[in-house]
């Protein structure tokens, strides 16, 4: 971890500077985390709930941050876990599997006032929704967020090799469906 980041993390932990440092953190990362979450849960209102919960978790758990990864990676991990927990609980309440719930969300995207995509974008979202959970997350992070494998590996606690395989399978499935 860089010295600059270490100083910032200390500021986040110090009761005297915590408030101001946290404001800076929210300003810096709110958009990136929001869009990461949005691509996982698809709906704006759901993404809003999850991004708030993510920042609450970051605020409450900053003392538990072990500093063996970057702060951004740690926050991304929290955002990913919060998104998956959210999908779990929503799907369970409706008596659906996670995959079924997310597919239903993707099917309803065209009627969503906050979806501006064309037919091709809609088709891609539906195909991504049909991917197994891990492949869907990896595909979103790699394809849409342009994250490198090393960062994704730290966020998902998975080896780079396994991630490459996941992404490769995901791309293969999507290409096959696009060609149909």
């Amino acid at each position: 971890m860089s010295k600059q980041q270490s100083i910032f993390v200390n500021a986040l932990r110090d009761p005297l500077t915590k408030e101001e440092a946290f404001k800076k953190l929210v300003t810096e990362y709110k958009e990136r985390l929001y869009w990461h979450i949005r691509k996982l849960v698809l709906d704006h209102d759901d993404a809003h709930d999850v991004v708030q919960n993510t920042f609450i978790k970051i605020h409450l758990n900053i003392d538990k941050f072990r500093e063996n990864s970057s702060l951004f990676t740690w926050m991304y991990r929290i955002a990913t876990n919060e998104s998956l927990n959210f999908i779990n609980s929503k799907a369970a309440k409706m008596g659906l599997l996670n995959q079924e719930w997310i597919e239903a969300k993707a099917d309803g995207l065209m009627a969503d006032s906050h979806f501006d995509g064309d037919q091709a974008a809609l088709k891609l979202q539906k195909m991504v929704a049909r991917l197994p959970e891990k492949q869907r997350i990896v595909f979103n992070m790699k394809y849409f967020d342009n994250m490198n494998y090393q960062d994704i590996s730290e966020v998902l606690d998975t080896s780079v090799g396994a991630l490459k395989a996941s992404y490769h399978h995901a791309v293969k499935k999507i290409k096959a469906e696009l060609n149909d």
Partner: protein, 122 residues
């Protein structure tokens, strides 16, 4: 044939294999990577405040800023009034001192100025 070395004579650019898979996966992008999702107007601008509110961090509202600036101006005005008052008190004290001194001098001369001295002056 045995004289020929078996080493590979071909070379590749540095880091070629490391990025090969990535390039292959991205080379046939047929669908735009543009973000098809949007947010309500002004949502991202206000997201910060809603997070602060949720966590319990005081927000910098216009009301708070007004309160702070009013307090600042009141303080400055109070300091100016205090300095002016202090200056005037000092000034009146100086005037009083001056008057007392004049009175003292006048009285001294009147008292010590006897009729003999008056005659000698005349």
């Amino acid at each position: 044939m045995t004289d020929f070395k078996k080493h590979n004579p071909f070379k590749i650019p540095d880091g070629y294999f490391e990025s090969l898979e990535e390039k292959l996966c991205n080379s046939e992008d047929t669908v735009s990577k543009l973000n098809p999702f949007s947010t309500p107007e002004g949502y991202l601008e206000n997201l910060e405040n809603s997070i602060h509110k949720k966590i319990g961090i005081p927000q910098k509202s216009a009301k708070n800023r007004l309160k702070k600036s009013t307090l600042r101006y009141t303080l400055v005005a109070a300091v100016i009034v205090f300095i002016v008052t202090l200056f005037q008190v000092n000034r009146s004290a100086e005037i009083e001192k001056e008057q007392a001194l004049n009175e003292f001098i006048e009285n001294y001369y009147l008292e010590s100025f006897d009729s003999y001295e008056m005659l000698s002056v005349l």
